[in-house]
């Protein structure tokens, strides 16, 4: 609370490891950004890149990035930051045998070399314009001497970074305590924190979190569902802050060869499904403030994302029924739907489908199990979300599901070609055009149901002054107490 200048945050899931490379959960990213620094920093409002551990950087050629490092920075254990740390970290994490959990964040790195004490060169495996984005996000820098000594396990036991907060107590699975790093370097784009102590407790049950918030045991919770957040707003000592995130929600429909639901191969059925769902009402009633209805499978702020020219399918249950009848299903049909989060939204979708005669049986699975279903060509309808790792570029979203990768279950070569063209070009105009082509075709063929973006609701003590960002990252270093 304000009285002792500390914030207790509750989160529903404990990270498997606090080492950012060895977890793939949001709380891991949050802890990572507080305890560690990255080479580059992206301003969450302007989306400008600024140097953090790096003073400056430039592309030497298509695949080589040269980074000049800031001097005089110290890790929490006193170790000095220099090129060795960067080289060691990048080379360590990019080696598959080191079993980094977030492979997709580091697999683009070919190697890192020390040029001099404060300059390194990073080589990418192929042309990879998004490298800056990754260096500004998940790729944090570890202290090489310490890391070499203790390894990922030791870094998890006693984490050491260079970030604005340092870990003073960590009980895996239970809680982690962060306290301000008094020696944090002044030039960092992350301002020196005001909040002296941040305790993150892992409370799996959402109701327990709410109860704690109501009873004052916890100051800050996030990912609160809309209804609950609105209810908590009534409590005088609490405030609710919400905002849009980059996480998009959509339904894939398995229309590839050998699909267990051949009906979905029929474009009319797919269109009927989109027409059946009242996305506007869902957004308004159950998804919440900050959400917007999408028409294409990407987040609007992402580079290349657009819905201009793409057909839109407004809520029209009658049309849906007639399309189904046309397709030969006048009495409706029965389909399975797999989902892994926001179950109430899936349930609403099922309700809408039921209303037009599609009986959807929910199979609510763990993410991994759902992935298995999809990749094994066993899924019919899927209710999915995608956060693009907060990467503000379409290359991080649409291609994952439509470029004939493992998760593509519509498998249209035309779409793939257009997406690949966009991915592999450095010319923004070419990229924009090819992505538009792909997105339009996806919409025309109704390969998937674009639903909406997910908002995030934070509930916090009324004293705390903070804002919500699309990347679902609470930034304690910039939070202050209200006067």
């Amino acid at each position: 609370g304000k009285s002792d200048n500390s914030v207790v945050m509750a989160y529903d899931q404990a990270p498997e490891s606090v080492d950012p490379f060895f977890n793939n959960v949001r709380i891991g990213v949050i802890i990572g950004q507080h305890v560690w620094d990255t080479l580059i920093y992206r301003d969450p409002i302007t989306n400008d890149y600024k140097g953090q551990l790096a003073k400056s950087w430039k592309w030497v050629d298509d695949r080589t990035l040269e980074v000049e490092l800031r001097e005089g920075i110290k890790f929490h254990n006193g170790e000095e930051f220099d090129a060795d740390d960067v080289v060691y970290t990048l080379n360590f994490v990019s080696k598959p045998e080191n079993k980094v959990t977030t492979q997709q964040n580091v697999s683009w790195i070919e190697k890192a070399e020390k040029v001099d004490k404060h300059k390194v060169r990073i080589t990418t495996k192929k042309v990879f314009p998004a490298a800056i984005e990754y260096l500004a996000g998940p790729v944090v820098i570890h202290p090489n001497e310490y890391y070499e000594k203790v390894g990922p396990a030791g870094q998890n036991d006693k984490p050491v970074g260079s970030g604005p907060y340092k870990v003073t107590e960590y009980v895996p699975g239970k809680s982690i305590v962060l306290e301000t790093n008094p020696d944090y370097f002044a030039d960092s784009p992350k301002p020196k924190p005001t909040i002296g102590k941040v305790e993150i407790r892992f409370i799996p049950d959402r109701q327990t979190q709410m109860a704690e918030a109501i009873s004052g045991g916890v100051d800050f919770i996030m990912h609160v569902p809309k209804d609950q957040a609105e209810q908590l707003e009534a409590a005088p000592h609490l405030q609710v802050v919400s905002g849009e995130t980059m996480r998009i929600v959509f339904m894939q429909m398995n229309s590839q060869e050998g699909t267990p639901a051949p009906a979905l191969k029929d474009e009319r059925v797919r269109k009927a499904i989109i027409h059946a769902i009242d996305r506007e009402t869902m957004v308004k009633e159950i998804v919440g403030k900050g959400s917007r209805v999408l028409n294409t499978i990407c987040f609007p702020s992402q580079f290349g994302c657009t819905d201009h020219g793409a057909p839109k399918y407004p809520y029209d249950p009658e049309k849906a029924k007639s399309l189904l009848a046309e397709a030969g299903f006048p009495n409706g049909l029965e389909l399975d739907i797999v989902a892994y989060r926001e179950r109430n939204q899936t349930e609403a979708i099922i309700g809408y489908l039921q209303a037009v005669g599609i009986k959807a049986n929910l199979r609510f699975l763990q993410y991994a199990a759902m992935r298995e279903q999809i990749r094994g060509n066993k899924a019919m309808l899927t209710h999915q979300t995608w956060g693009s790792f907060s990467v503000n570029d379409v290359s991080a979203s649409t291609p994952v599901y439509f470029a004939m990768g493992d998760d593509d279950i519509s498998r249209d070569p035309e779409v793939r070609d257009a997406l690949n063209k966009g991915d592999n070009s450095v010319d923004p105009a070419v990229r924009n055009a090819s992505y538009k082509e792909a997105l339009t075709r996806i919409a025309e063929k109704a390969y998937a149901v674009p639903l909406y973006s997910l908002p995030v609701y934070y509930v916090a003590t009324a004293d705390l002054d903070f804002r919500a960002y699309p990347d679902e990252m609470p930034r304690f270093w910039e939070m202050t107490w209200k006067k």
Binding site: A14, E16, S17, F22, N24, P96, E97, K99, T101, T102, Q103, Q104, S107, P152, A153, N156, V171, P172, G173, K174, S175, R201, F202, I203, P204, D205, Q207, T208, A211, E212, I214, S215, G217, Q366, Y367, A368, A369, R371, E372, R375, F389, V400, G405, D406
Partner: protein, 305 residues
């Protein structure tokens, strides 16, 4: 005596073996670990890599034998999710759960023994009916529902107790009650039934015929014999409580074995699940052994002649 214990330990070993095999095959056959390890957004080649590096591409039986061999050597493997040594992980969480189990068992006994004795002594009176009513109502309330009601009452409305965590003893009050109340009726009924039976036994009449005061008849002669079956039930119920703590630990954010189990189930963390199931089963068999020994101590008929 030694022979008997050895035999029972042998049984424990056999049970453990069976349980581990069941758990291993059941878990492995129903899901792909590699995808779980690779995580959200992993590509097929990432998954393949995981599969190879973890040796998941070999036949199940081979994997099981290897796992068994490692376990026998004391190497419980590494958690897929937490990336740490499973043994360390599990043993770190065990105390919380055991504490919770023992506390709730204690709570259950504390409530049920007096209630059961009263109900038996005043069988068919209003006291008996009241005790029975408490028992039936108690058993009808799902423990998660009851836990939430406790939270509503003591944390939200009255603000007497902290909602979650395991920092202070106050944190354990609600979980203890929520977990323990559900088994209390079983004990109460058993004690009541046992007491009623014992009270009608010939030796109680003998004791009364000696002119002993009622208190002494009940507490010295009757209770001692009525608690014998309770001891056996205690072992079973402690096993039940450890299983039931999954729900309670999740609700009260107690960082114990139950929550770890729930997490490992959620994340398909097979090595952890495997060890937890194994550990609980061994614990159960050992507990029943302990109960048998305790029984023998209480009931000399079973003891060495």
């Amino acid at each position: 005596m030694i022979g008997y214990i050895l035999k029972r330990l042998g049984l424990a070993l056999l049970v453990a073996l069976a349980v581990s095999a069941i758990a291993f095959f059941l878990l492995r056959m129903s899901g792909d670990v590699a995808i779980a390890i690779a995580g959200e957004g992993a590509r097929q080649e990432d998954i393949e890599l995981v599969r190879r590096t973890y040796g998941l591409d070999r036949p199940l039986v081979v994997q099981y034998v290897e796992w068994l061999w490692n376990t026998l050597r004391g190497d419980f493997g590494t958690s897929i999710y937490f990336k740490t040594d499973v043994a360390t992980l599990v043993f770190a969480k065990l105390p919380t759960t055991l504490l919770l189990g023992v506390l709730s068992l204690g709570f259950a006994l504390l409530v049920s023994i007096p209630l059961g004795v009263l109900a038996a002594v005043y069988a068919n009176s209003w006291i008996d009916r009241l005790a029975l009513a408490i028992a039936v109502v108690g058993q009808a309330l799902p423990n998660f529902f009851f836990a939430l009601i406790l939270v509503m009452l003591f944390s939200i409305t009255l603000r007497w107790l902290p909602v979650s965590g395991s920092k202070t003893w106050a944190n354990f009050i609600m979980p203890t009650i929520a977990l323990g109340y559900y088994v209390a009726p079983a004990f109460m009924r058993l004690i009541r039934a046992g007491m009623i039976e014992v009270l009608s036994a010939d030796y109680i009449r003998t004791a009364r015929a000696k002119g002993l005061p009622t208190r002494k008849v009940i507490f010295k002669h009757a209770l001692r014999n009525a608690v014998v079956p309770v001891v056996a039930l205690t072992a079973v119920q402690l096993g039940f409580l450890l299983g039931g703590s999954v729900v309670i630990e999740t609700i009260f954010a107690l960082d114990g074995l139950g929550y770890l189990a729930y997490q490992s189930i959620t994340f398909k963390d097979f090595p952890v699940m495997q060890v937890i199931v194994l550990m609980l089963s061994v614990l159960y068999v050992l507990l029943t052994l302990a109960a048998d020994i305790a029984n023998a101590w209480l009931d000399p008929r079973i003891r060495v002649a």
